[in-house]
């Protein structure tokens, strides 16, 4: 199929983009296009106006600043994935990006586009929730910062108000071990279920644990109860098994032709066991 007609604006600055979005309800931002163009082609999206931000250079950056990684919304997946700074400072993010579609998709897709698209089965939203990232957004009323945990409201629904753009993603760096475990129908497809974990140890004792799950609810799920159960003790088989049960209990998976809800919940537990064991090894 072919897209329905729309007006097109190639924005050359953030202000110009914000102004255009504010002036046309239902206008859509175009970043990498890796989700939006297919939706246009299938006529699942029919915006009156598309605001192209590919020339807004101020949205494209990647740097370490005050112990955090600062990522411009327009920074392409592949740039982040292959960055030496990201590999050393936020290795969970680099590993997770390797699961986002195929290289050709990652060459064009942007970090901001993936987050704004807010697919519950996508990797980046869950990683950002696991890492306690913060998102800067800007609109006609100015700038505000939203915690990743408060950003995702439902499938393809975010805290972005009409006319607002995601501009910057700020991620704390992390030490210790990490792991991504994903189950998908095809290599590098969206997750049926994916678990993202980091662990730090002090001797044998688990000091911190962070666990988030994709594909197991309307938004990414942060498994706080499981994290609390792990912290302060050794990562014994029993402790990990309990955490896995708590993760499964925190999920609210959809069921479909490809994977019934029960199966996804059970897989969330299985993948959690694997993720924590692997994160512990690297810690």
């Amino acid at each position: 199929m072919k897209a329905a007609p729309f007006e097109y604006l190639r924005a050359s600055s953030l202000d110009e983009a914000i102004e255009a979005l504010a002036g046309t309800p239902d206008a859509r931002v175009l970043a990498g296009g890796q989700s939006l163009v297919p939706l246009l082609n299938l006529r699942q999206a029919r915006p009156p106006l598309v605001v192209d931000i590919n020339r807004v250079d101020e949205l494209s950056f990647l740097r370490k600043e005050n112990g955090r990684l600062e990522i411009g919304a327009l920074t392409r997946h592949r740039v982040v994935e292959t960055s030496a700074v990201v590999r050393s400072e936020v290795p969970l993010l680099a590993e997770a990006l390797g699961f986002v579609g195929h290289v050709a998709i990652r060459n064009r897709g942007t970090v901001g586009g993936s987050l704004a698209h807010a697919d519950p089965a996508a990797e980046l939203p869950a990683v950002m929730v696991a890492l306690d990232a913060e998102f800067s957004v800007r609109g006609p009323a100015g700038e505000r910062v939203i915690a990743a945990r408060d950003f995702f409201l439902g499938p393809h629904r975010t805290a972005l108000e009409p006319g607002e753009l995601l501009t910057r993603i700020s991620v704390p760096t992390h030490r210790g071990g990490w792991a991504v475990e994903e189950l998908s129908r095809r290599s590098r497809d969206l997750a049926l279920v994916a678990v993202f974990a980091t662990v730090t140890l002090s001797g044998e004792v688990c000091e911190t644990a962070r666990i988030a799950v994709a594909g197991a609810g309307p938004t990414p799920i942060r498994a706080t109860a499981a994290e609390e159960a792990l912290v302060g003790g050794a990562l014994t088989d029993d402790a990990i098994a309990l955490a896995a049960e708590l993760v499964a209990a925190a999920t609210d998976p959809p069921g479909d032709l490809h994977a019934p809800a029960d199966y996804r919940r059970e897989m969330a537990a299985v993948l959690t066991r694997r993720a924590i064991a692997r994160a512990e090894e690297g810690a």
Partner: protein, 153 residues
């Protein structure tokens, strides 16, 4: 209508198109590069994969207006002076081309794979082309062709 200027296989082209025109349709229908094959139009099959500013991209998941000023290589740009590119030659030798529908996208994907990893294992080749569907399912020959063309071997 918007005017789009792109360099394709070393030559600069300028043409008008609607904003909704995908890069795939622009290359194929407006500029005549019919080696750009369109299968699914939503990024899944990989047959429309081209090289855009030095990196592989799905031309069906981009608007032509979005890449104004870009440098593109299509399958038509691989052969030089009537000589097939070594990767094309290897596809010929190993029978990696059956009906040819997936071939342009496979070649663009394999070119980038070999550039980044001059001596890939079979598993890495399979992973590398996992985003490209071959409806003739000739994957074994395609893997053989890519392995044999790897510069690091």
């Amino acid at each position: 209508m918007i005017t789009v200027t792109v360099t394709v296989n070393g030559r600069t082209y300028r043409a008008d198109c609607e904003p909704r025109r995908t890069l795939a349709d622009f290359l194929r229908h407006d500029l005549g590069f019919v080696g750009v094959h369109v299968g699914c139009e939503h990024g899944v099959c990989g047959s429309c994969t081209i090289t855009l500013d030095g990196a592989s991209a799905r031309s069906c998941c981009l608007l032509a207006v979005q890449v104004d000023g870009a440098e593109i290589v299509t399958v038509e740009g691989l052969a030089e002076n009537g000589e097939l590119h070594p990767l094309q030659e290897s596809f010929r030798k190993h029978h990696g081309l059956q009906c040819g529908f997936c071939t342009p996208g496979m070649l663009a994907t394999a070119m980038e794979l070999l550039e980044e990893n001059p001596d890939p294992t079979d598993a890495e080749i399979r992973q590398g082309i996992s985003g490209n569907l071959c409806r003739c399912t000739g994957y074994q020959f395609i893997v053989d062709a890519i392995r044999d063309a790897a510069p690091g071997r």
